[in-house]
């Protein structure tokens, strides 16, 4: 039978999905054991027990000095930054994206500019950014926003322009003004697609968050990773990385659920397009 027609039996599917994770885990444990046998003080690939200790220390023990749980503080700080920047980016993307996708004048004015701007590597202009907005929360939020807004705008503008011309004409023949047309016809159709774009930008958003926290912060997941990196404390870094991955995964999952719940018509409409 052709490979393309050979399906794994139901029971095997989950097992197969877990296999690569298990192999990575096994590789880690082996490599760690080898290094530790060579040098028991090796910090690069700590034993699972050291990692468990670190997790306990960071996530389940109240820090005496600051009277709080470090990992919780870091997570809240990072998530707050992410949430604010995502909110700003989404708002900007909707406003600018709809304007560029729908209205000829804003399109003529901004579409080339946004295209160009989205090519500027934000990490390279960090000094200017920090000096313009200072080193506080604003800087971190601005970096994330600058990093993810241009692609979001481009996407929203493209999705807006993809709405069949016929629908816009139709809405006008029903008496819509530009504003009500945007509100009732265009925006509701763009929102579920915005969720798709947003899912693509979750990865970059974390990247910029970590980069921003590496430069100026007093708490945050990226801050902690960079702080302990000087000491090569992989026993802290690895759980933090796993935690970030999990958070990102959950955000992705949440967005997918949101899309399905909030826009019940979308899955069918997309399938039949």
């Amino acid at each position: 039978m052709r490979m393309i027609n050979r399906h794994p039996p139901k029971g095997l599917v989950l097992l197969l999905a877990l296999l690569p994770f298990f192999l990575v885990f096994l590789t880690y444990v082996t490599a760690s054991a080898i290094r530790l046998a060579d040098n028991p003080a090796d910090k690069l690939l700590p034993a699972l027990s050291s990692i468990a200790d670190a997790i306990d220390r960071m996530a389940f023990t109240v820090n005496a000095r600051t009277d709080d749980i470090l990992m919780l503080v870091d997570t809240l700080a990072s998530l707050e930054r992410l949430a604010i920047s995502l909110a700003i980016s989404i708002t900007l993307a909707i406003v600018a994206g709809l304007a560029i996708g729908l209205l000829p004048y804003p399109r003529a004015l901004f579409s080339t500019f946004v295209d160009t701007f989205s090519m500027v590597p934000p990490l390279a202009v960090l000094p200017i950014l920090f000096i313009t907005v200072g080193l506080g929360e604003a800087a971190k939020i601005t970096l994330i926003t600058i990093g993810i807004t241009p692609p979001l705008i481009r996407d929203v503008a493209m999705r807006t322009a993809d709405i069949p011309r016929q629908q816009l004409v139709k809405a006008q023949t029903l008496g819509a003004s530009t504003w009500t047309l945007t509100l009732r016809v265009v925006l509701p159709q763009v929102l579920p697609r915005l969720i798709d774009s947003l899912r693509l930008q979750i990865g970059p958003a974390w990247l910029f968050l970590i980069a921003a926290e590496a430069i100026a912060a007093e708490a945050g997941l990226g801050y902690r990773i960079f702080l302990v990196r000087r000491y090569l404390a992989m026993d802290v870094i690895l759980p933090y990385v796993a935690w970030i991955t999990l958070l990102a995964f959950m955000m992705d999952f949440g967005l997918r659920i949101l899309q399905r719940r909030a826009f019940p018509w979308f899955a069918d409409a997309r399938a039949s397009a």
């Binding site: 000095r65 000094p127 200072g134 960079f226 000087r230 090569l232």
Partner: protein, 331 residues
């Protein structure tokens, strides 16, 4: 600039500057600021270079910085800067480390990983000249300090120049040999707290408050009392290590916990010679400006009023005013 009431100091995580963090956290900063009727915001910046850039661009009134970087960035960038506290000098905190080679001369021909144009670079230059070599005899690879410890673990890296706590981290490795360190050029890598000269001139209280905070905190840092130990432990934690790690770093630092000693060092003759070496190093690396015709473009005023370089373009000043006031208990 008009007198003002609110000031910002940027500091970065380094053993000699951790007192700022502790002072801010325990209320020493507030105590002294209140005394002079001002507000001082002590801001931690993770990225050292960024803190200097921010200060240079005008985002901060005061900064923790080394003597070399104070000259190369703010001073060259036209920001007149005064070193009001000479905190310590590196006495082993910076080191040249080779892998499996015991002599500095073995460095010849190797790739050397370091943060280019930093004090590490300067230390390398001084180390090389001590054995009659030139920078051309090695190949410098710019490597970020955050990744230095990880980089050491790779095969490609055979020699690094770096500072603590990374030195300690690297030295854990059995193959690591320290072949040169800053204790061999004592007093040349100086950790300062600097402030904008103009701001300081218009607001001498700001300088006094900083000096007051600094020496009250240092008294704790060196104290063998339980409070002192607790303070060191807190600073160790905040810098990502523990008490032992922090004390090891302190040991490689010549801390001027007595204002009188700091003041004496500042007024001493060596500092002039050091700054001359530093500016020559910078000039050779074109860090005094691309169109700098000579080492003299930027003037450096020493505590005794003598000026190195252009007297009409003094941008970096040493002064013992505040340290002496602290020593005299006049704050």
């Amino acid at each position: 600039a008009a007198p003002k009431k609110e000031f910002k100091l940027a500091w970065t995580i380094y053993v000699g500057w951790m007192p700022w963090q502790y002072a801010a956290e325990t209320g020493i900063v507030k105590k002294w600021a209140d005394k002079y009727g001002i507000k001082i915001d002590v801001v931690q910046v993770n990225d050292y270079v960024e803190s200097i850039n921010q200060y240079t661009a005008g985002g901060f009134d005061a900064l923790t910085v080394t003597n070399m970087d104070a000259l190369s960035t703010p001073a060259v960038g036209g920001v007149d800067t005064t070193a009001l506290i000479v905190g310590d000098f590196s006495n082993g905190n910076d080191a040249v480390i080779l892998k499996n080679k015991g002599k500095l001369a073995d460095i010849k021909g190797q790739k050397v990983n370091l943060v280019e144009f930093s004090v590490s670079h300067y230390l390398l230059a001084r180390a090389l000249s001590s054995v009659g070599m030139k920078e051309k005899d090695v190949k410098v690879v710019n490597t970020s300090d955050a990744d230095m410890a990880g980089a050491w673990k790779t095969k490609d890296v055979t020699s690094v120049v770096t500072w603590n706590p990374i030195v300690e981290e690297v030295m854990i490795d059995k193959a690591a040999r320290k072949v040169f360190d800053s204790s061999q050029i004592p007093g040349e890598i100086i950790d300062l707290t600097v402030a904008n000269t103009e701001t300081l001139k218009d607001n001498p209280d700001f300088g006094k408050a900083l000096a007051g905070i600094w020496y009250e905190t240092l008294a704790l840092v060196v104290s063998q009392s339980p409070e002192g130990k607790a303070a060191r432990e807190a600073m160790g934690k905040a810098s990502g290590t523990d008490l032992a790690g922090f004390e090891a770093q302190l040991a490689a630092t010549k801390l001027f916990d007595q204002p009188a000693a700091a003041s004496a060092f500042t007024k001493g003759a060596e500092i002039g010679a050091t700054m001359d070496k530093v500016r020559r190093f910078l000039f050779e690396h074109k860090l005094l400006g691309n169109d700098a015709k000579s080492v003299d473009v930027v003037g450096i005023e020493l505590a005794d009023g003598k000026v190195l370089g252009d007297k009409k373009n003094v941008k970096f000043r040493f002064t013992d005013t505040y340290m002496s006031a602290a020593a005299a208990g006049k704050l």
